[in-house]
């Protein structure tokens, strides 16, 4: 048995004996677990025309999970649970709340697209399982748990991507995602085995205690391997290449989902494992991440310019947004404002990006294509969709008073506080350039009065899609105008830091 497997087995044994009171702190995860398992049961039990109940079940429990995360924050405070393998702290709770709401919105986006197909209910259950995995990744403070949850996250994402079995592009996307995903996950696990070898424990706290004493070259090499796997999930350049193809090949609502929970979980894990695994900017990882952030921001924005398909455009937009999140990650060891910026950015990005996706999905349903040409005359046909599109894209760009502005301002401030002013300058430059591609999508919708010929019997948005559109757009505006509560959450957040002295001694 490999050491890692042995460690995992040990963890499982520890979980069995652990105090049951930890479960209260894991209420958000339990809600998602119930969503997934209950959803699967309902999907099997209910006839095909009643599968919307599964959607309702999964969406409701997602919202419950978000509420539970808020409740745990308010009542329990932050602590390490399950034998120190999972951190219930500001980062994981805030992210779980964001994931819960985003997941519910994505279910609403999915429902009109997959209603009446076979295995509809199973798709919702799979979505719940994937959100659960993302929430576990967000709080994992144990190498084995991270490897496990990343695998679960990947499997769920692959299955959802390939949901349309008859679509060749969908299959290609799923295979591409699967092959690259497993390879990078394997690379990450390989890096984690090095960490385990250096620390003699799978606990992140032990790794953080051991790595400062380890040979620099080994630390750099192993950490780089870990960054590859997490960077793949978050779509960091140069591990981003799957993003546009997968988003374009998957069902559009699945693309919307892939652009939020897996990405945010990847960024959060990157933040936690670098900050706690390599304490105090060990081997200068902050600068390395800063370089990745700069490359990701600029590359994403430049690649956006050439796109003619709205989904691919949003795919590259999401890549560049990852860069802005990394800007805050890079500032983590140097600035107390960084975590606040990162957490606020999660919410801002989730709201704006889902709103933009919702409009694109609605347009694609109606016009049969997400080509920029399909948006011509949208302002005349659907003024409200157009308003949502304009607001969400300008928020992604960062125009006051929308939430994207506050988010970018918060991460720029963090970067400057951290002494990485050059990175903020690159970010501002990327932001300025990004106005052009965003306007390319807005312009035909607002200006063109020519009505494209629509196929007969076009479908309307449908109530779930409309609800998702309204919720995400209101959040895009509301998080900006009333940014204070979320910023306060970000300010009180913390990434749990366990003193190495508290570690149990483990036999090797």
């Amino acid at each position: 048995m490999t050491p890692l497997l042995a460690a995992a087995a040990e963890q499982v044994k520890m979980l069995e004996t652990k105090d049951i009171s930890d479960l209260a702190d894991l209420a958000p995860l339990l809600a998602l677990l119930v969503a997934a398992i209950g959803g699967l049961g309902l999907a099997m039990a209910l006839p095909r025309e009643r599968q919307r109940l599964v959607a309702a079940w999964v969406a409701t429990l997602h919202v419950v999970a978000a509420g539970a995360a808020a409740g745990v924050w308010a009542i329990g405070g932050f602590r390490s649970v399950m034998g120190g393998t999972y951190a219930v702290d500001g980062l994981s709770l805030a992210l779980t709340a964001a994931l819960g709401i985003s997941g519910a919105v994505c279910v609403a986006l999915l429902r009109p697209a997959v209603a009446g197909t076979d295995r509809e209910g199973e798709l919702y259950a799979m979505l719940a399982a994937t959100t659960l995995a993302a929430a576990v990744v967000a709080g994992a403070s144990d190498l084995a748990l991270l490897a496990l949850s990343i695998s679960l996250l990947s499997i769920g994402s692959f299955v959802m991507t390939g949901y349309l079995r008859r679509s060749r592009r969908g299959n290609e996307a799923a295979i591409k995602y699967y092959v690259y995903g497993t390879v990078t996950a394997a690379v990450m696990v390989y890096g984690l085995t090095w960490w385990y070898g250096l620390a003699g424990s799978t606990r992140l706290a032990a790794v953080g205690a051991a790595l400062p004493g380890a040979p620099t070259a080994v630390v750099i090499a192993s950490s780089a391997l870990v960054v590859v796997g997490l960077g793949y999930k978050a779509a960091v350049v140069p591990f981003h290449f799957w993003t546009p193809d997968v988003y374009a090949g998957a069902p559009a609502p699945v693309a919307a989902y892939l652009s939020v929970p897996p990405k945010l979980a990847g960024v959060a894990a990157l933040a936690r494992f670098l900050l706690r695994g390599l304490p105090g900017d060990l081997v200068g990882w902050s600068t390395a991440i800063a370089v990745l952030a700069a490359v990701t921001m600029v590359f994403g924005v430049l690649a956006m310019i050439a796109q003619r398909d709205a989904i691919r455009l949003l795919a590259y937009s999401s890549i560049s947004q990852t860069g802005f999140m990394l800007l805050a990650v890079a500032a983590l060891p140097h600035s107390p404002a960084a975590l606040r910026g990162l957490i606020y950015f999660f919410f801002a990005y989730a709201a704006s990006n889902l709103a933009a996706f919702a409009v694109v999905i609605a347009v694609r349903r109606e016009a049969g294509s997400a080509d920029l040409g399909a948006f011509a005359g949208l302002g005349r046909r659907h003024p409200w969709w157009t308003a949502a599109l304009v607001l969400s894209l300008l928020s992604l760009f960062g125009l006051p008073p929308l939430t994207g502005f506050v988010a970018k301002l918060a991460v720029f401030t963090a970067a400057i506080d951290a002494g990485q002013a050059w990175l903020a300058v690159v970010g501002i430059a990327a932001t300025v350039i990004s106005l052009y591609p965003y306007l390319r999508l807005i312009a035909p919708a607002v200006l063109n009065r020519t009505e494209p010929r629509l196929p007969r019997g076009t479908r309307s948005a449908g109530r779930p899609l409309a609800t998702a559109l309204v919720v995400s757009t209101l959040a895009t505006v509301g998080f900006g105008l009333a940014a204070q509560p979320l910023l306060a959450v970000g300010r009180h957040a913390a990434i749990l830091h366990e003193a190495p002295a508290a570690l149990p001694r483990e036999g090797s």
Partner: protein, 493 residues
């Protein structure tokens, strides 16, 4: 009472209310708009009475908004923002009385005018950069719709050009305010704080970068040559009321920004670049005058004279920045601010005059006009008054303003002041030529039956003309308030 906040809130609330008015009352939108504009005028009058001319920014009204990034609802006045706010309300009252689009004023038109009015007042009264910028962008949206819905033949193209040009132009301003936020310690969007404790006390690389970011953004808005290319298209296609507001109020946002941000917050950088910027203002003034001279379309001609007059404002502010002597500085700055107000009144009358003839004949081509004085004596007199005011005749509003600019500049840059005076000769030539061609001489038969100004047109234009005369005859009417603006200039004094 929070007079300033109410002045902003009432038009905005009325704008939200206007679309809900019942269709049965066709005159209700106009009545609502007039009422919602009259109240801010009263509130601003109260504020004027409370203004302490010995102080700078004052009467601050403040409420928490996003404390984490120090965004707050902060409004305050000094002489400059007060007179520009009053100008805003006066011009909106005139435009609501004159109307835009179908008559009587539609609910949409009333809502858009009120939205534009509220956001413009918010811009001039805001002392928080977040609010300042949001107000700036909302004015663009409202103006876009005014042009796109009720403009001329190529209105959509013109509206788009206006919107994109000024939106892109607002980006440098956004960059600049982000830079000021991150450089200030502690980080703040509070403009009063940024004036009292400037983030930059030198003219180094950082200060220069921020300075030019703001400058370019405001120069596009003003507009200053070579950032003016959006202006003629927007004006030619805009409805009359749209042009009046665009030239009378919205252009002032640019020059207001020169003073409030570039001069007050980045004074040392302005001093360092004062000479090239004064020269740019001079070039702009001459460019505007000469291009206007070549126009035959009355509205285009008037539009280009704006570039000329805004050029003088830049010369005045630059001279104030370079002045070493406190009196010279105050004279130049007072002149520049006075010029904003005077130009706002005069250009409003000029665009109304162009609109009146357009409405009657469907053309504004000067060569097609002639001898208008005979069939339309009131119209002719009004036009002559506006023309003489625009070319700077003593006794009318722009004379004291331009005189102060010249006097202030003479002290710092005698050569520039001397050359600037010749700009007036060009504007005098172009206005007198139009007057001679279109109004004097024999009346062609097809123009003989034109009716003179009606009641609606008189209600819109006569009060403005009266103000042009009043300010010209008795400049202290606005000058005493304005002077308070230059008392407190942050890092400059």
């Amino acid at each position: 009472m929070p007079w300033l906040s109410l002045s902003i809130a009432i038009p905005l609330a009325a704008a939200a209310l206007a679309p809900a008015l019942p269709r049965r009352w066709p005159r209700a939108p106009q009545a609502l708009a007039l009422g919602a504009s009259a109240l801010p005028l009263i509130f601003l009058a109260v504020t004027w009475a409370r203004l302490d001319t010995g102080q700078g920014l004052q009467l601050v009204e403040q409420a928490h908004w996003i404390p984490s990034i120090d965004v707050a609802w902060r409004v305050a006045v000094d002489g400059m923002s007060l007179v520009l706010s009053v100008l805003t309300v006066v011009l909106f009252l005139a435009c609501i009385a004159y109307g835009v689009g179908p008559r009587p004023l539609s609910r949409t038109a009333a809502a858009l005018l009120l939205l534009l009015e509220g956001s413009t007042l918010a811009f001039f009264l805001a002392e928080d950069f977040f609010l300042f910028y949001v107000a700036f962008d909302v004015t663009l949206v409202a103006m876009y719709f005014l042009i796109a819905l009720w403009g001329g033949r190529r209105r959509r193209y013109a509206a788009l050009k206006f919107f994109l040009y000024t939106l892109v132009g607002s980006l440098p301003v956004l960059l600049g305010l982000i830079a000021l936020f991150v450089v200030s310690e502690p980080h703040t969007f509070d403009m009063i704080e940024l004036i009292r404790h400037p983030a930059f006390r030198d003219a180094g690389v950082g200060a220069s970068f921020v300075f030019f970011a703001f400058f370019v953004g405001f120069a596009i808005k003003a507009p200053i040559f070579p950032f003016h290319t959006w202006l003629p298209a927007a004006h030619v296609e805009a409805p009359t009321a749209g042009s009046v507001l665009l030239a009378g109020v919205l252009l002032k946002m640019g020059t207001y920004g020169f003073v409030r941000v570039n001069f007050q917050m980045l004074g040392p950088a302005f001093t360092a670049y004062a000479l090239p910027l004064a020269l740019l203002g001079l070039v702009s003034a001459f460019y505007g005058a000469f291009v206007a001279l070549a126009q035959t379309d009355l509205k285009r001609l008037v539009a280009y004279t704006s570039i000329n007059h805004m050029g003088y404002v830049l010369v005045g502010v630059a001279a104030a920045a370079a002045a070493t002597h406190a009196t010279a500085r105050r004279v130049a700055l007072d002149g520049a601010i006075m010029q904003m107000v005077a130009h706002g009144l005069v250009i409003a009358v000029l665009f109304l005059v162009a609109g009146f003839i357009q409405e009657r004949l469907g053309t504004r081509e000067v060569p097609l006009l002639g001898g208008l004085m005979r069939p339309m004596p009131i119209y002719g007199t009004l036009t002559a008054l506006a023309f003489f005011a625009a070319l700077g005749l003593p006794g009318l509003a722009q004379f004291p303003a331009e005189l102060q600019i010249f006097l202030g500049t003479l002290d710092v840059y005698p050569a520039i002041a001397a050359v600037t005076v010749f700009g007036i000769v060009v504007t005098a030539a172009l206005f007198l030529r139009v007057l001679q061609q279109a109004f004097l001489g024999p009346t062609p038969r097809r123009l003989a039956g034109l009716r003179d100004l009606g009641r609606r047109e008189l209600v819109a234009s006569i009060p403005l003309a009266a103000l042009v005369v009043a300010v010209g005859v008795y400049p202290p009417l606005v000058l005493t308030a304005i002077t308070s603006a230059s008392r407190f200039m942050g890092a400059m004094l």
